[in-house]
Each structure stands twice: as C-alpha cells, then as structure tokens.
C-alpha cells in the first residue's frame, strides 16, 4: 500500500452554470486503496465525482490519473483511461438485458478475449446476474441493478472506480455485501475506489482513507480508522 498515488486532484473547482459547488479541492488516493468521501447533503460529493469522470467540466484545477492530466478529456475517453463512474441511480440501461448491459461496458475494449474473461468474472462475482442474463434492466430489483451497474464498470477493468451512494435505497444486508465486495476487489485485484457515501459508518468501516467534505471543500483527509475513533471529529462533521 506504499505504492504511488493513482488519483491526484489539485485545486479542483467546478459547478453548474454560474453557481460554484466545488472550491479548490485537494485530494490524493493511493493505488489499491479505498477512499470514502463523506459529508452532509449539498457538500459537493456527487459533484466531485461528476467533475472527476468528466460529466461536468471543471472550471479550475488539475486531475491526474496515474500521472496523466485528464483535463478536457470527454467521458467516453476517460472510461478508456481506466476511470469508471457508477452514478447515483445506477446508470443501468433499462431497455437492454443484463447481458447486453454488461457487454456494453466492454465494447470499447480492443482486447476482445480479455473483455470476454472480464465478463465471465463479473458473472462469477454476481451470481444473481448470471441467473438473470436475459432479463431487461427495468425488471431487476434495486440490489440487482446496483450489481449490474457495478458489473458493467468492472467489465472495463477500471483502475479507479468512482461509486456514488451505493447504499442508496438498499437493504442493510445488501449494503454490507457491497462493501465487503469492494474490500475483496481491492485486496485481490488492486482496484482503487473513490466511494461517496451518506452512510458514514459503513463507508468508514471499509475505507482506508476518509475524506470529509463540507460546503464544497475538503475539510479533513485522514486515515479512516482515525476518523472512526476521533469522537470530537465525528460530532463536528459527521453527526454520529
């Protein structure tokens, strides 16, 4: 875990139209670790992910993925560089089948054989999806949709996974399974994860690093264990 920093963000600012949401975000995520971004509603967590994945264009600052400057790179190109974004609300194509959705995630890949292998691995990882290959996206339960969105991202063999509120609207058991899966992916494949969560407790339980955002700024970036244990900090920013 002493490896290089996969994601480096310097002075990132972004917003919608004239309204700035992010102001000078600094953030580093080492390769093979999980960083949890937590904070109150409206802190800019989702906007941070959207700015990182190219869905909105930053107004200032720098985003480096593996040392490569990503400024101005469109979304579909960022995917090819290894940045996978699973948005809130999952981003599943509801009129395509499970299998078609997953294959979509690997369409851009040149290495067809490895894309096929990645697909197999996703089916092994998510047994329910393998059973429902021919079902349409809108026929899935919330948990299955989440698996599908996550699976579609993994078919592209990302280096960095941006996950927005994976716990939203899901049963605690499903959330726990998702978190365990993230840890498993990190340990087995060296996947780097930037996780945005409202559910602070479960996010910090799985993360290596905790990033607390407030009003569009990063106020604290510290080892997750430290955030878990520091009672004052928790009271001040996290409300538990």
């Amino acid at each position: 875990m002493t490896g290089t920093d996969l994601l480096v963000v310097r002075g990132l600012a972004a917003g919608y139209g004239a309204a700035p949401v992010l102001r000078a975000i600094d953030l580093t995520v080492p390769a093979g670790t999980i960083a949890a971004v937590v904070g109150a509603n409206g802190a800019g967590k989702t906007t941070l992910l959207r700015a990182l994945s190219g869905m909105i264009r930053p107004t200032a600052g720098q985003v480096l993925l593996g040392g490569e400057d990503l400024r101005g790179t469109p979304v579909e190109q960022l995917v090819r560089r290894g940045m996978a974004h699973v948005p809130e609300g999952r981003g599943v194509i509801s009129e395509l089948t499970v299998d078609e959705n997953l294959r979509l995630g690997g369409l851009w890949r040149r290495d067809r054989a490895d894309a096929g292998r990645a697909l197999d691995e996703v089916y092994q990882l998510f047994e329910p999806l393998a059973r429902r290959r021919r079902h349409l996206g809108h026929q899935l339960s919330g948990g299955e949709r989440q698996m599908l969105a996550l699976g579609r991202a993994l078919v592209g063999r990302p280096r960095l996974l941006l996950l927005d509120e994976p716990s939203l609207g899901l049963a605690p058991r499903v959330v726990a399974r998702t978190m365990a899966l993230l840890r498993q992916l990190r340990d087995r494949t060296g996947l780097t994860v930037l996780l945005v969560e409202q559910n602070v407790r479960s996010a910090l339980a799985v993360a290596d690093q905790g990033v607390v955002m407030s009003l569009g700024r990063v106020v604290i970036a510290a080892p997750a264990a430290q955030l878990r244990d520091d009672v004052d900090l928790r009271h001040a920013y996290l409300g538990f």
Binding site: H85, G91, V92, S94, L104, L107, L119, D120, Q124, A130
Partner: protein, 369 residues
C-alpha cells in the same frame, strides 16, 4: 496497474459467456439469411401468380419498406425523430435519375448499370444523411424535429430552384432497360420490377437486421435509453447518433431510388413534406422499432391510397369532388388510423400481433410463466 489487469483469477470456468454468444451471432446471420432467401422465393412465386398491377404494388411496398425500415431504426431504436426522410428519398431518387440518364445518353447498356445507379443513390444519400446527422446529433426533441422538417422542405425546393439540372416541377425521367432477353421475349415488365426492387430491399434488410442484432444495435438502443449511462459505458454518443442517421439515410435513399425506378420518373411533388409525415405515421402505426412493424407500415402506405380510390369509385360523386376526396382522404384516414392505433394498441400493428400470439400461446395447455 499490472495488478488490476490480472484481476480475479477465474476459479472455475463457468458457462463461458464469450463463446455461446459468438455461436449465437453466427446463427443469427444464418437465420436472417434463411428468412431473406425464403422471402425471395416467396416473392418469385407470388410474382408468377398475381396480375401485373399487383406485382407493381408489391414492388412499391418493397421500395417503401426500405425507407420505413431505415426510419424505424433511427426513430425506434436510436430515438431520433426525423420528419425529413421524404427528402432523403428524393436525394436517392434524383441521383438514380441523373445516373440512368447519363448512362442512356452515352448509349451504355448492361445489367450492371442499374445496380451501379442504385449504389450511387445510396452513396449520395449517405453524404446528405451524414451532414444532417451531424447536426441532428447536437439536437434533441423539438429542435431535432425542426431541423429535419427544414430538410424535408428544402430539398424539394432545391430541385425546383436548380431547374437546369433537376428540371423544376416537371422532374426528370428515369430511363430503365427492359428485362433481359434471357427471361423470354414476353416477360411482364411489372414482374421484372418486383424482382429488382424485391432483391434490393431484401439485401438492405439483411444488412439492417444484422446491424440491429450486432453491437451497433445495442449501442443504438443504449443511447436512446440513457445517454449519460451510455457515455459512462464508454460509448461515443454523438458518433453513434450520426451512424444511426447515416444508416437510416442509406436505406431511405435506396427506397427513394427504387420508387423512381418503378415510376420511371422523379419530381419534387412525389417527395413532399406529406411523404415524410406519411413515413413517420407508417412506422408508428406498424410498430416502432421493429422491422416487421416497418413492413406493415409500408403495406399501409400502398394499400390506403388504393383503398380510398376504390371507395371514391363506389360512391357516385361528381368528378371534381371525387378528385379532391381522393387527394385528401388517404391523409385523413392515415391520421385517424394513427389516433385509433395509438389508443387501442400503442405497440402498433406488430405489437398487437405479438400480443395476440402470446395470448394464443398462453391458452394452450403447456403453460409458461
């Protein structure tokens, strides 16, 4: 990075997802080929058993089918509304007229000239379609409808403006060679027309059906459903939309060219805005997003004017009234049909048939969930 590439070692090879899919794709191609061959044989059989006028009508259905199939791919599968497909058909029609005239003027003859002209029609329509498609990819909803509407109005107007080339409202004639002598001296011309248009349409449909089932078909639908999700999956949305427009334009151009070959003439009046609206109504009534629905639409496009013609003949009306009725009744009937179909069967004719089929299946003792 290398660690990520290694990923989860597959412990046991589950049902390999890659290979069965490839096999499926292979069989899809074969299935489509079989359907097309069967349809071709059926057409030949039918062409011998019905009168010449029916042959001509079937050939017209085939020509319209080309255009409606392309439109249903664009609007149904890719979610781009086009009010300008009549103009794309005109592009193909005028190209084929210019090519055939040029060949005839130079005294060139041969069986390969017509296919060459048709190919040229497809190419020129693809060029126009690409330009419109690039604009369309930047626009959504009413704005897209507006631009394609403009195309529908502008293209016939161009034909009138540059009357040195396109001969204005009079239009151009399309010299077409008689059927080859090897078919016999008395081979009916209409049968030959059905063969030519049928073959061209079936070829276009074979390509279209395979495209729909391919990765491109999937990206078309993904972009229609959710552009953001599609982009996040690494799909270039604008490129996909332009591709869909180009494919759709190619078939529309071929359809228009075939119509011109059938009529042996082309004029701006034949490709008015009404035609564009008719095409759109036809694919919606037939069942949007399905090639079978496009076929029903094409049949309607030919059958409805014919129906109104017989209707006005049945009624004893003064010639002036009859003529006016004949001109406007198809449009009115088409509109009414559209409203009724949308209320009674939002899936169109094909959706209704599928539902009937499923209901019949469910009635049989072998129940399935």
């Amino acid at each position: 990075m290398s660690a990520t590439r290694a990923a989860v070692p597959p412990k046991q090879q589950l049902v390999g997802a890659g290979r069965p899919a490839d096999r499926r794709r292979g069989s899809t191609l074969l299935r489509h080929l079989a359907v097309v061959l069967a349809a071709g044989l059926l057409l030949v059989a039918v062409s011998y058993s019905v009168e010449p006028f029916r042959n001509f009508q079937l050939a017209t259905v085939a020509a319209y089918f080309c255009a409606t199939a392309g439109l249903t791919v664009l609007t149904g599968l890719n979610g781009q509304l086009s009010l300008g497909h009549g103009a794309l058909m005109a592009t193909g029609a005028y190209t084929v007229a210019l090519c055939q005239t040029a060949f005839a003027d130079r005294g060139m003859t041969g069986g390969w000239l017509l296919p060459l002209s048709l190919a040229a029609a497809v190419v020129s329509t693809v060029a126009v379609g690409a330009v419109v498609g690039v604009a369309a990819a930047r626009l959504r909803g009413p704005y897209l409808a507006g631009v394609t509407l403009a195309v529908a109005v502008v293209v016939p107007a161009l034909a009138v403006t540059f009357d040195g080339v396109f001969n204005g409202e009079q239009g151009l004639s399309v010299p077409v060679e008689p059927p080859p002598l090897s078919l016999g001296a008395y081979f009916p011309y209409e049968r030959w027309q059905l063969w030519v248009t049928g073959a061209a349409t079936l070829l276009a449909l074979l390509l279209l059906a395979n495209l729909i089932r391919s990765r491109y078909g999937r990206t078309f639908r993904a972009v229609r459903d959710d552009e953001v999700a599609a982009r996040l999956a690494g799909i270039h949305v604008a490129r996909t939309q332009v591709l869909a427009f180009v494919v759709s334009a190619a078939t529309a151009g071929l359809g228009g060219a075939l119509l011109a070959v059938l009529a042996q003439s082309v004029s701006p009046g034949a490709f008015s805005l009404t035609l564009s609206l008719f095409l759109l109504m036809a694919v919606v009534i037939g069942g949007l997003g399905r090639l079978s629905g496009a076929l029903w639409g094409a049949v309607l496009l030919v059958a409805l004017p014919d129906l109104t013609h017989s209707l006005t003949e049945l009624l004893t009306l003064s010639p002036a009234v009859a003529q006016r009725l004949e001109g406007n009744l198809p449009l009115a009937i088409f509109g009414l049909t559209l409203i009724v179909v949308m209320i009674a069967a939002p899936g169109g004719v094909q959706g209704l048939l599928s539902r009937l089929g499923r209901a019949l299946l469910a009635r049989r003792p072998t129940r399935h969930s």
